[in-house]
Symmetry: C2
Subunit: 199 residues, 2 copies
């Protein structure tokens, strides 16, 4: 395949990203190789090396792509304050649609390489800190609005607990989608938040 | 290195397992190669191929080892019924010691290869079902003992929620051990179970 004309470069770049995503959703980071991406695009691995001269460059692109697609995913409106806002944030994370499932499957897969690499592990720790920080204000509001059963509960700790519940549910649902269809996941979220709230 | 004498075989087998464990704890399944295990043992990869003729054999051994070491880990006594028994089970899973941390880090790492392989994914789904089934009776007892805030709560769903909370906390703690020392993890468990219990 000849090198693309300048006008085609952007389109080609999108094709490459789409192929990387397809491989990740199917095989995870453990199966992410130049050969697998080339096969998904029906091009030579030589062509792909223009984009990714090293395995590390391919992994870096995959992680960027995951970050961007997570940031740009469609989200629910956040109309309500306090616990209903936490509910919307948790539902926005869970694997309730095929797209959400693919994204979560890729995140879970990324934990293996991230734990093995100090820099990636530190980035992931930062990502978790930001996620907790984005949920915490809603628990603070829930406290002010007298929505919480335990008035003295610490909003930061509740945020860590909500993130824990959510990601642990993600993993169980990825392995057993038949046991955790959308309605079961939503019922679990409602029961979990219900247990934190005034009864 | 010459092949071991028959009497040495068992000792050599233990050395191999120990080296596989060391590599997994350090680099995860993504970094598990014959070369890495051979380097950890200071032997040739050729020697190791007597034990693992293929990469798949090495992975199978690693997963067996993880299963065995998880089953054989020391556990807390289960003196109490209901929610205190759930508490002991959750604490037995969390990364509260270096050994627990290594084991959890390897489990989290295994999710990447398990999601990419239909047979391994099905085994992991079964493992989750058994874990939920082992916690469920304690929630049923909690219900009978009037320990639960919501008398109509479903024990199977509570078990799934407890597993979700636990594994999501595992992942956050692995990435940020400074933020989640033992006392924070234990406080989160107590708050989480407290929210399910009668106040």
């Amino acid at each position: 395949m000849p090198p693309p004309a300048p006008g085609d470069r952007e389109a080609r770049r999108k094709d490459v990203s789409e192929a990387v995503w397809t491989v990740l959703a199917d095989k995870g980071f453990g199966g992410l190789t130049l050969r697998a991406v080339a096969a998904a695009m029906n091009v030579s691995t030589g062509m792909l090396m223009h984009y990714f001269p090293t395995k590390r460059a391919l992994i870096a692109h995959a992680l960027d792509l995951l970050e961007v697609r997570t940031a740009e995913r469609p989200r629910r409106a956040r109309p309500a304050e306090g616990l209903p806002a936490v509910r919307a944030m948790v539902l926005d994370i869970l694997p309730l649609t095929p797209q959400d499932t693919a994204r979560n499957r890729i995140w879970v897969s990324s934990w293996d390489i991230a734990l093995a690499d100090e820099e990636l592990a530190s980035e992931q720790a930062g990502r978790y800190a930001r996620l907790r920080a984005s949920i915490r204000p809603h628990f603070e509001a829930a406290g002010r609005l007298a929505q919480l059963a335990d008035e003295r509960a610490d909003a930061e700790q509740l945020a860590a607990t909500a993130v824990a519940f959510t990601h642990g549910l993600v993993v169980q649902a990825l392995f057993d989608p038949g046991r955790f269809p959308k309605e079961v996941q939503v019922a679990m979220v409602d029961e979990f938040l219900g247990s934190l709230g005034v009864r």
